[in-house]
């Protein structure tokens, strides 16, 4: 995820050496990421907030085990995913989505792109509340494995490797599932996005989902 350069290793060392108040500072950039991650799994605000708190408390208690091979944000995301899944199991409503077999062979090189250079969306479309509402609903209704991927990659802005590590799946599966998740959302939201494209009625009738 995008963070300003800060000396997290130094912060962590100082916390472990006894300046534990610094933990507040350490986790501040990740509050949103942790909440969105657990929310994508447990799907209600109360449980998500519980899980987010548990994630941070666990991170604190086990901070000495963080070795710095991974980024702190990835380590935290991994704890968040585990907390969320544990909560689901405890609530006995873990309807495990079947693991799909990705059919696409895809071993290309990849360079994760930060989500910064996509500014061509018309401003007035971004301002439409119903579009945001439709997107929230569409994401909430994605099958679990796609909701998790989409949240970690496109909402939390973890890169492919970090997402793979947090979800304990390989990078190719991250890309395959992310593609499917985005296409499902695109299909679902296309009717809302119509007005943003320079199109004629005839053109939209030719779109593949019609």
């Amino acid at each position: 995820m995008a963070t300003t350069e800060r000396d997290e290793a130094g912060l962590i060392a100082r916390i472990l050496a006894g300046q534990k108040e610094l933990f507040h500072e350490l986790i501040r950039p990740y509050e949103r990421m942790v909440y969105m991650t657990v929310f994508s799994i447990v799907r209600n605000e109360t449980d998500a907030e519980d899980c987010a708190q548990e994630t941070m408390v666990n991170a604190y208690r086990h901070l000495g085990k963080f070795r710095g091979e991974a980024k702190f944000s990835t380590w935290l995301a991994t704890i968040a995913v585990n907390e969320g899944r544990q909560k689901l199991r405890k609530a006995k409503r873990a309807k495990e989505d079947s693991l799909d077999e990705p059919s696409e062979g895809d071993d290309q090189q990849f360079t994760p792109a930060p989500l910064t250079d996509w500014r061509e969306i018309p401003l007035e479309a971004l301002e439409r509340k119903e579009l945001r509402e439709a997107l929230r609903t569409a994401v909430a209704e994605l099958p679990g494995i796609y909701r998790e991927i989409f949240t970690l990659r496109d909402l939390d802005e973890l890169n492919v490797a970090e997402t793979a590590a947090a979800l304990h799946i390989n990078e190719n599966m991250v890309k395959v599932r992310l593609h499917r998740a985005r296409m499902m959302l695109q299909k679902r939201l296309a009717p809302y996005l119509k007005t943003t494209a320079p199109a004629k009625k005839e053109f939209w009738r030719r779109m593949p989902w019609n």
């Binding site: 534990k20 941070m56 000495g64 895809d106 792109a113 929230r136 695109q186 996005l193 943003t196 593949p208």
Partner: protein, 86 residues
């Protein structure tokens, strides 16, 4: 090789993430130049991602941060919970 629309759709996500090889990227771009349908799919997908990155789309509960730091303050105050260095 001339790409057809279905080929292009298969690569939309990787294309957005800038993770297709340069030659393929060029081919996709050549296709997009003359294909309104694929261009619209690409643009609408990007629009969704822009909207996803807008903090107003997925909001944190009011008071979340305060409650989180309150919980942590209680945790930090309890010496028994000091992080283990094991």
């Amino acid at each position: 090789m001339e790409l057809n629309c279905k080929h292009v759709w298969a690569y939309i996500s990787d294309y957005i993430d800038n993770s297709v090889p340069p030659e393929l990227r060029e081919e996709i771009e050549r296709h997009l130049e003359h294909c309104e349908i694929c261009s619209a799919i690409l643009d609408s997908t990007r629009n969704i991602l822009v909207l996803t990155g807008d903090d107003r789309t997925f909001e944190l509960p009011v008071g979340y941060s305060e409650r989180l730091h309150g919980r942590l303050a209680r945790e930090l105050a309890d010496e028994a919970n000091a992080p283990t260095t094991g």
